[in-house]
């Protein structure tokens, strides 16, 4: 079997080492980093926009271009998360916890290096697992029914509450508020829910204006009172040595790195769960297992390694379920499935058996794109540190214009821009008084998943739907873990108050 895998890899390698394939990998990786770094642009949008172009390419090159964008965009999001406290993609939200603090401490170059190194290792580990365990992992992921998926969505919020960033009460409140906002719009049963008579809310609250407002605008409103992004008057200069030092940091924490990669891979493989939950779960688990949990949130290196390794490892997991089972592991993978179908290929077990060379070629291309990602990301990160030296009086209005135009471009309506401003003010107020904007955003992202899965539970289990939480083994384990996390955090907070 091992010989067979190695010969398949050799075939994949020969397919990838073609000039045209390499060019598309370079283009995809570059576009992915750029798209990921711009708040408001997601890999799903980029893959969607480039979909018509791939029609003119051969199936392998088309897929190579799209998966390179997908993989690189996850890293790209961490650049703005670290420099501006604004995650470029939702998957990088957890990176802000320690990444932005490091920027404030004058260690932005090192933080960016850590994020690049961790993303690389997370990606490589997940693609290696993809080579050897594609089918068993995909089969396990399919054991997640509606009750497990619902609990997994709620798990994201529970994790945020349990990692103890701010008061438990405030984080729960912010999470519930986000979940409620996320349920606005036409329901899966066709009813108009809490749209307040606005046709623009029929599709629900758009995620991009919410993310841009909550993270970017709220930060910009605060930034006008400072001369530079960082508080001190002498911003950090670009430092390639520090960046390289950060690049190898993940190797000093092998247990954290491997554990985070496994978490990312498993959660990524679960349909629709995605890198955001993976990053938060990994952060929480690393903090829980750490001997110095109090250092998390203070610019602690494992606080960047854990989410960055996990969110990149989740791409491998998501691709496993997409390619091997024909079930999209994330929204970007759903668009990728469309690209496969456009090329006359049907994702699923049939693809793995009839087009196995193409699948392994894709894995080799992904690994190659990771090496390119390191080089390109280093360049991007090096120049982005320069932002720290730009006067905020110029930077803030310019970034604000980009936020407005980026938000408007999604649906071409001013309503979305006004929503972005509303979320900006809410986010600004929340940050000021110790509420977690990340919890709100996570709620907005996870609510549609939770809502859909709950309705599926009614349809599948009927009146006794809630029993599924206790009768299905994976559900029961998730319920127990959530209860333990919440109770232990409550006890910890009580103890702290008593002291």
């Amino acid at each position: 079997m091992l010989n067979n895998i190695f010969s398949l890899l050799a075939n994949g390698f020969s397919m990838t080492i073609q000039l045209d394939a390499i060019v598309w990998i370079i283009v995809g990786t570059f576009l992915g980093i750029i798209v990921g770094a711009i708040p408001g642009f997601t890999s799903t949008m980029a893959v969607g926009i480039l979909l018509p172009i791939t029609f003119f390419l051969n199936p392998f090159n088309a897929l190579v271009l799209l998966v390179s964008i997908y993989a690189a965009s996850i890293y790209g999001g961490s650049i703005t998360a670290i420099i501006l406290n604004t995650p470029g993609t939702p998957e990088s939200s957890a990176t802000t916890f320690d990444g932005y603090i490091m920027t404030q401490q004058g260690k932005a170059s090192e933080a960016l290096g850590i994020a690049i190194g961790s993303s690389f290792i997370g990606g490589v580990l997940s693609y290696i697992v993809m080579v050897f365990f594609m089918l068993p992992l995909a089969t396990f992921a399919l054991k997640f029914g509606p009750s497990e998926m619902f609990l997994l969505a709620i798990f994201g919020i529970v994790i945020l509450v349990s990692i103890g960033r701010g008061s438990m009460k405030k984080t729960t409140m912010a999470g519930a508020f986000g979940l409620l906002i996320g349920t606005i719009g036409v329901t899966p049963t066709g009813e108009w829910r809490a749209t307040f008579g606005s046709i623009f809310l029929a599709e629900g609250v758009q995620m991009i204006p919410a993310i841009i407002g909550m993270f970017a605008l709220s930060e910009l409103l605060d930034m006008v009172n400072r001369k530079f992004i960082v508080d001190n008057d002498k911003p950090e200069a670009r430092n390639i040595k520090k960046m390289v030092k950060g690049l190898f940091s993940a190797l000093n924490y092998p247990v954290i790195t491997i554990r985070s990669a496994i978490i990312g891979l498993i959660i990524g493989a679960i349909p629709a769960a995605g890198g955001t939950i993976a990053a938060f779960t990994s952060y929480a688990e690393t903090k829980r297992a750490s001997k110095k949990p109090e250092l998390f949130g203070t610019g602690y290196i494992p606080g960047i390694i854990a989410p960055e390794t996990a969110n990149n490892a989740s791409t491998g997991g998501a691709l496993i379920t997409t390619l091997a089972l024909g079930v999209p592991g994330s929204s970007t993978c759903a668009v990728l499935m469309g690209a496969l179908m456009m090329q006359g290929l049907s994702p699923g077990p049939q693809l793995v058996t009839t087009q196995i060379n193409l699948v392994y070629g894709l894995i080799v291309a992904l690994i190659l794109s990771l090496f390119l990602m390191v080089l390109m990301s280093m360049m991007m990160a090096y120049f982005s540190v320069g932002l720290l030296r730009v006067n905020t009086y110029v930077l803030v209005p310019v970034v604000c214009v980009l936020c407005v135009v980026g938000t408007f471009a999604i649906r071409n309506i001013i309503f979305d821009v006004l929503m972005m401003v509303l979320f900006g003010v809410v986010g600004w107020l929340m940050k000021k008084y110790g509420y977690s904007p990340v919890a709100v955003m996570l709620g907005v992202i996870l609510a549609p998943i939770a809502d859909d899965e709950l309705i599926r539970m009614f349809m599948r289990f009927g009146k006794g739907w809630y029993r599924a939480f206790f009768t299905r083994p994976i559900s029961l384990i998730l319920v127990i873990v959530m209860v333990i996390l919440l109770v232990s955090q409550y006890v910890k907070e009580k103890k702290l108050k008593m002291e």
Partner: protein
């Protein structure tokens, strides 16, 4: 922070109370806009509403402190020490933040009429002047560069229609 004297009681309310009150108001609005929907459409939002209401009420309670007026007249500062954060004592927003925000709102609302070619340079120049940029080169170069980048990326490459305005 707001201090009130009701009878012999001195009531201190944190400005932070705004957040839970706004969230509670939102949940009430949400409830009245959707209470007629079917069970399946409402079960998940109801769970969220209950959690939001409970946590909001507890947070509101945490934002209010009731002191005996006579006892705490002299030692008022001691009583609220540790309970009041530094954000409570500072003004809610600085003049710069407020003026920049007003400028942004005017820019967004006028965008359909002015279009990007007039609206963006105007907003950039006015907001940079408001924030304290005095270098005339920056005031000229920044709007031209931003407009050029936006035109190339959004209009020329991505073919996304942006507001053209009446001009």
């Amino acid at each position: 922070m707001k201090k009130m004297l009701i009878g012999s009681k001195r009531i201190v309310v944190k400005r932070e109370i705004l957040a839970p009150i706004l969230m509670l108001a939102f949940s009430i609005l949400y409830f009245f806009d959707s209470y007629k929907l079917s069970f399946s459409a409402l079960v998940f939002p109801r769970i969220c509403l209950i959690v939001l209401c409970i946590t909001s009420i507890f947070t509101i309670k945490d934002c209010i402190i009731i002191l005996n007026g006579k006892v705490c007249e002299e030692s008022f500062e001691e009583h609220i020490e540790g309970w009041i954060t530094k954000e409570e004592l500072e003004p809610l927003a600085s003049k710069k933040t407020i003026s920049f925000f007003i400028c942004l709102i005017i820019f967004i609302l006028s965008l359909p009429y002015t279009g990007i070619f007039l609206g963006i340079p105007l907003f950039l120049i006015v907001s940079m002047l408001l924030l304290g940029v005095k270098n005339y080169k920056t005031l000229i170069i920044a709007p031209i560069t931003v407009l050029l980048v936006i035109y190339i990326v959004f209009v020329y490459i991505l073919k996304i229609p942006l507001p053209a305005g009446y001009l």
